[in-house]
């Protein structure tokens, strides 16, 4: 009973905060209009997860709420924004569900620790939450893609001379406590300086407490875009993250469908447009779409 109560309370925070939101504008232009496909009767094979979702007209997607540019939810809006979200909208729309209809689409916040459990328990139908494809994860959940290949990079103040991680050997670099990024910072010879979250890293960078902050390049571009003229992303990537879509392991038929939708987005330019509207705003050049994994191999 307490569990239910807590859930209600947590939902209440979101609700209360969005009701009271003070017109924090500037995020709506980050999303593009995705039209729901029409007529899904017979589109999907009988008994497949896609057919089930299309019939129900409801879908739950696990996304991040705290990463500008990728998956971010402003307290004032119902639908999160970012590149992950754009990809998710394409998938949702292919199921003949209107991605803007918050009654039909539930955007469930997932954090790094609960993505696999949520998929296993069936709390979410798919996960697009800066979800790196790794063999360990593929052992317990389905993953396909990648729809984005990125890596950890470094962000410094605009006026800084730092060119790459080589200039930061033995210097303090901020990253979130308990994250993989902060371990990479240490492995690469920089001194880790922990903060509770990346918002605090930005503050520490601003205050000069740290020389730089480091995490996934795509996230950094998001922050750079959020604070124009203040920061710049430098140096090459020093890790490779292949961001993909997570789906329940017992629904392998979803893999071909996801790949198909993403491939279509590559071919008709929707993918590039989504990139420009979200991550591209931070100054990143639109890359070539990454090659998709073969579903049978997974």
């Amino acid at each position: 009973m307490r569990l239910i109560k807590t859930k209600a309370a947590v939902a209440g925070v979101g609700l209360a905060l969005s009701m009271a939101a003070c017109g924090n504008a500037g995020s709506s232009d980050e999303s593009s209009d995705v039209q729901a496909a029409e007529d899904c009767d017979g589109k999907f094979e009988e008994g497949s997860k896609m057919a089930e979702l299309a019939d129900a007209g409801e879908v739950t997607v696990g996304v991040k709420f705290d990463q500008p540019g990728l998956g971010f939810k402003d307290a004032s809006s119902d639908v999160p924004t970012g590149f992950d979200i754009e990809m998710a909208k394409l998938l949702v729309a292919d199921l003949c569900i209107d991605p803007e209809d918050t009654d039909a689409v539930t955007w469930e916040e997932t954090i790094s620790d609960n993505r696999e459990p949520y998929l296993q328990e069936g709390r979410v139908d798919m996960v697009l939450a800066t979800y790196s494809i790794t063999p360990e994860r593929q052992a317990i959940v389905g993953q396909t893609g990648p729809y984005l290949v990125t890596g950890q990079r470094i962000m410094v103040k605009k006026e800084s001379d730092v060119q790459s991680k080589e200039d930061l050997q033995g210097e303090e670099v901020c990253s979130a406590e308990g994250s993989t990024s902060i371990e990479n910072v240490e492995k690469e010879g920089m001194v880790p300086a922990s903060a509770p979250d990346y918002t605090q890293c930005i503050e520490d960078l601003r205050n000069g407490s740290v020389e730089a902050m480091s995490t996934d390049g795509a996230i950094l571009y998001g922050y750079a875009a959020d604070n124009p003229g203040e920061f710049k992303v430098v140096g090459p990537e020093f890790s490779e993250e292949r961001i993909g879509v997570g789906y329940p392991k017992e629904e392998p038929e979803m893999c071909e469908w996801i790949n198909g939708v993403i491939q279509d987005a590559y071919d008709d330019g929707t993918w590039a447009k989504a990139y420009e509207a979200t991550l591209g705003k931070g100054g990143a050049e639109t890359p070539e779409p990454p090659e998709l994994d073969d579903c049978k191999a997974a």
Partner: protein, 284 residues
């Protein structure tokens, strides 16, 4: 000991000197306060927009309902469970059988010495992550249960030992068994002695719920974090959060003082050290 034992009733010269000290102290304190206010003002922290969330009904509601209420729920659930945990292990420590008392002693000593934060992370990764949104909530409750339970085990042990020996002896004399002596004679009297200490422990538990921060648990600090990440009003948020914690804790302290007067009388409150074999400390 009343303070006036430490010094003579002041004569005219001393009174004059004290007056100077008082004036200096007042000037100093006002100076410090003024400096703080000036720093706040100079850095724009007194601007209305930074404080606006705390005057907006929806945010006040979020702070009170999703913040304070959840924090109180977590703290009280943790303390209630901790009382059970503490009772079992506290009584266990007093057992005549080494195979019971020794493990109980080890468990209590271990959990009193391990930082709550370490415990919380472990519980979160082995339990919390698999239990959805309630996972973080219960992670906090379970970790605090174990820690406060271990502290309370010591309180219970000390409380039982504070019951006069004659009571147990008299009970044995009328032919009661060991468990009867414990359940009918010792515990009821011990509970009265321990009540203030248990309420004080609520203050400790309440403060420690804020550590749920690391496992993204709900509660007052979590709501505060949402607010200051949105409005970048770290200073006002910290002040408001501190104010709320202080108010609630003061009410709890009042309750503890009342319970102390009502059930224990003028005797010294029961105090237990945070760790080791010291008998006069108090958990922080």
């Amino acid at each position: 000991m009343p303070a006036n034992v430490l010094f003579d009733s002041p004569g005219p010269a001393t009174i004059a000197r004290h007056r100077i000290y008082t004036v200096l102290a007042v000037i100093g304190l006002i100076g410090v306060l003024a400096f703080v206010v000036w720093r706040l003002y100079a850095n724009g922290q007194l601007e209305y927009e930074l404080w606006e969330p705390f005057l907006t009904p929806a945010y006040i509601e979020a702070l009170l309902v999703d913040g304070l209420l959840v924090t109180l729920e977590m703290a009280f659930s943790a303390v209630l469970l901790a009382v059970v945990f503490g009772l079992i292990f506290g009584v266990g420590k007093l057992s005549d059988h080494a195979w019971i008392s020794w493990p109980c002693w080890a468990v209590v000593e271990f959990f009193r010495a391990v930082p709550v934060l370490l415990l919380m992370t472990l519980v979160f990764y082995s339990y919390g992550v698999n239990h959805g949104e309630g996972g973080a909530y219960w992670t906090v409750v379970l970790s605090l249960m174990v820690y406060n339970g271990a502290v309370l085990a010591e309180v219970f042990r000390a409380g039982i030992q504070a019951v006069p020996h004659g009571q147990a002896e008299a009970a044995y004399a009328v032919g009661m068994r060991k468990t009867q002596v414990m359940n009918i004679i010792m515990l009821p009297q011990a509970v009265k002695i321990m009540l203030p200490a248990i309420i004080s422990q609520c203050v400790v538990a309440l403060k420690d719920t804020s550590l749920g921060y690391v496992v993204a648990a709900p509660g007052l600090t979590a709501v505060g974090r949402l607010i200051y990440n949105q409005f970048e009003n770290q200073v006002p948020t910290a002040i408001v959060l501190a104010g709320m914690y202080i108010t609630v804790n003061l009410l709890l302290t009042l309750a503890a003082t009342w319970a102390q007067k009502k059930f224990v009388g003028e005797k010294k409150p029961l105090e237990v050290s945070a760790v080791g074999h010291l008998d006069d400390g108090r958990a922080v």
